[in-house]
């Protein structure tokens, strides 16, 4: 597999070029070229792999030079973190970073581990590659247009676009490295790079809020990194190997829970979910790429990889309970948010919680659901982030309240956003199917608490999406005309995502059989058809019901003649539905607000108890596992 170095190397190369490209037009062309090449390389790579029989490959058994380079890389990352922490006077990141780097270097140079492959390629890797290359690539294209609008809109923010693009491409390279790694030390290296890039991107605007939030993200991710390092150390000293596969086959719980900690922090599960909400201060492309589509998926990727080892032990119970708790708590907190990006952040946390819950159970069905959720969530969430970003550039606000009647004001964005929202929870879109499979799997595995979590959680999920969708679809004559300032680049990316979403829905059985089943088979050795044929027939009915029915009804209802009258406002409507006469006899603007139930589901009520509960579960789990091992 000669393509792997290219997959990682090409984005790095582009990342190195961007700091020298100050002129925006040529930089735009460069981004298009870069994204195009990355996608093309991925396609070639996948075709090669498929032509080679689509077998699991184990690569690079001896790589001493690269190992040393990575050790050097670890030290450089540590120095960077220490420098920035000193600059902004933070102590915690320094302790965590120095601690884990020392631990890693000590492990590397003091233990003798068995030689083994450093990289591997299998179906799960391929799936992640597709997500990274295509969703990541199109988000880069989106960024070209978005950042122009962003800086036109935020004049107070220093224009650091070369740095931003550089980080985006470097991130793609790191993600490729991460998903290919089989050796834990390699994976750790890429893991740390993604943490640092996320930290740098959250701090893009350099405002106080951004800096605070970026350090919050940093220390939480570093804590996960410390867990990762501890897991590696345990494996190296106790088992004499640092292969990911050996962690599963050895089944020792201590490294398992340490790695699970890393996965939980990366995928922003409770009690660490604060960082993802804070990360929303970053420009939208980084939220779309890092904080919903790919980087947080690295956490669940690791957990899915480990999931066969979670079956029926303490760590599995801890992971799945935390996932389930996060699912319901985050979806409740999302109800009380009116900031579009915050809702997306909470919903990301919540959906990741469901995936983590599935992975924690560790049986075929749940992992099947987890992989499915991952695919659909990546596409629809990145689409939603992009459309919210574009809407923000047009309206000057990303408040859901301001999106009232978006379908009249900026129809194209409203349609894209609508497809994204429908994809998140409506039948027949994939999220709902996976939720259905997850529910069945939870029942089968006899996990009562998770069944309750999913029952309540899907109700709360429905509430916050429906009210957003309803807000978009209000046929309300706009107060002021809005100019759609969305660039072509942004529409290219968003239409791509929308098309993929619909195609995924149409070819759901195909995706299930050709992509998801092989992944499950690789992880567990065998796979049963989770989605039976009768369900697929039902899917067809649902597809008809949601797409075709409204279209047919459109034509039927168009034939009927209608007299349009003003809406009912107690007879004090002033003409065009926008104004009514108030008690002083003056014209007053009609303003309709959604329900946010702040006093019931507000963050200030739920956040602290949720964090305490999750932390207690985690600490208890660590105590039990480590106590059991000693």
């Amino acid at each position: 597999m000669t393509m792997i170095p290219f997959l990682i190397g090409i984005p790095v190369l582009f990342a190195l070029i961007f700091p020298f490209m100050r002129e925006s037009r040529s930089r735009g062309i460069m981004v298009y070229t870069g994204a195009g090449i990355v996608m093309l390389t991925t396609v070639i790579f996948i075709v090669q792999w498929l032509a080679g029989g689509a077998e699991t490959l184990m690569l690079y058994p001896s790589t001493e030079l690269v190992d040393h380079l990575m050790a050097a890389g670890d030290i450089i990352l540590m120095c960077l973190i220490v420098y920035l922490s000193i600059k902004y006077r933070r102590i915690l990141p320094i302790l965590l970073s120095v601690g884990q780097t020392v631990l890693m270097l000590y492990t590397e140079f003091s233990t003798e581990v068995a030689e083994g492959p450093h990289m591997s390629v299998d179906w799960l890797t391929i799936l992640m590659c597709i997500i990274i290359a295509f969703i990541g690539g199109f988000i880069c294209i989106y960024t070209v247009g978005y950042m122009k609008g962003y800086h036109a809109h935020h004049t107070d923010v220093q224009d650091r676009q070369p740095f931003f693009f550089s980080m985006l491409f470097l991130f793609l390279a790191a993600m490729f490295g991460l998903v290919f790694s089989q050796n834990l030390i390699w994976m750790y290296f890429f893991w740390e790079i993604t943490s640092v890039i996320s930290f740098l991107m959250i701090g893009y605007t350099r405002t106080d809020e951004a800096v605070n939030n970026s350090f919050c993200a940093l220390w939480m991710n570093l804590l996960g990194g410390l867990g990762f390092a501890a897991g590696i150390t345990w494996m190296a000293f106790m088992e004499g190997t640092v292969q990911l596969l050996d962690v599963i086959s050895a089944g020792a719980e201590v490294p398992l829970i340490c790695l699970a900690l890393a996965g939980l922090t990366k995928s922003a599960q409770l009690p660490f979910s604060t960082w993802l909400v804070g990360a929303m201060v970053a420009p939208t492309p980084s939220s779309a790429l890092l904080h919903s589509a790919t980087m947080v998926k690295a956490g669940v990727y690791l957990l899915i990889r480990l999931s066969p080892a979670f079956y029926g032990n303490m760590t599995g119970i801890i992971v799945s309970s935390i996932g389930g708790l996060t699912f319901i708590m985050a979806s409740m907190m999302a109800i009380a948010q009116n900031d579009g990006k915050k809702v997306l952040a909470f919903s990301t946390i919540s959906n990741l919680g469901l995936i983590v819950g599935c992975a924690g159970i560790g049986v075929e069905e749940t992992v099947w659901a987890a992989v499915f959720l991952m695919i659909f969530h990546s596409v629809s969430k990145s689409m939603l982030f992009q459309s919210v970003g574009a809407t923000e550039n047009c309206l000057g606000s990303r408040d859901i309240e301001d999106m009232h009647g978006l379908i009249i004001r900026i129809p194209k964005l409203a349609y894209i956003m609508g497809i994204g929202i429908a994809g998140m929870y409506l039948a027949p879109f994939g999220m709902l199917i996976s939720k259905w499979v997850a529910l069945k799997a939870f029942v089968d595995s006899g996990n009562f608490v998770l069944v309750l979590f999913i029952a309540y959680g899907s109700a709360t999920t429905m509430f916050y999406w429906t009210k957003w969708l309803a807000k978009l679809l209000c046929y309300h004559i706009p107060r002021d005309t809005v100019k759609d300032v969305t660039h072509r680049d942004e529409y290219v990316s968003m239409s791509f995502h929308a098309a993929v979403m619909l195609l995924l829905c149409l070819f759901l059985p195909f995706v299930a059989i050709k992509v998801v089943n092989p992944i499950v088979r690789e992880l567990f050795g065998n796979s049963t058809d989770v989605l039976s044929m009768s369900v697929l027939a039902t899917m067809a009915i649902m597809l008809v019901s949601i797409f075709i029915v409204p279209v047919v009804m459109f034509f039927i209802s168009r034939r009927s003649h209608r007299e349009l009258v003003p809406i009912y406002m107690n007879g004090i409507n002033e003409g065009d539905n926008r104004y009514f006469t108030n008690s002083f006899g003056d014209k007053e603007h009609l303003y309709l607000s959604n329900w946010y139930l702040r006093f019931e589901f507000g963050r200030r009520h739920l956040r602290i108890p949720a964090i305490i509960l999750a932390a207690a579960v985690l600490v208890l789990g660590f105590c039990l596992v480590i106590g059991g091992a000693l």
Binding site: E563, V565, P566, Y568, N570, G571, I572, N573
Partner: protein, 164 residues
Amino acid sequence: MSKVSKSPWLLHYDASSCNGCDIEVLDCLTPKYDIERFGIINTGDPFQADILLITGGVNSQTESVVKQIYSQMPEPKVVVAVGICACTGGVFKECYNIKGGIDTVIPVDVYVPGCAARPESIIDGVVQALKVLDEKQTALEAKKAAEKSGHPGTAGGDGHGISE
């Protein structure tokens, strides 16, 4: 097509009444008079109402409201003026702010006098209104049929032309 008079839904509006007639209107809904046995429902929504029941004379504040509510009711519809104020303006007729009876603003079909109008007479008025409602429905249907036959008529003419 079923008769509108079999399920007349009321909308009750107080234009400037002293509430005397309003209480009598609500009285009709109590178990004692039970107008639901005629299929009558007191709805609060002009979009779903067939009969507009107005009490009190129209003043300058309620004039636009009465007009708007009336415009929001789908055809066929009837208006019943309940109480002497709604019929003519009553004792307030000469007041500076009163325009007069409801018929100064919108067409009224049935007048129910009284101060306050008795529930029996209100029910009587509504039952009379039902007859008007049926007449209006027939007229509306005849108009619709005429419109419809108007179209095929011209089309038939064309066909005739071609056959010739």
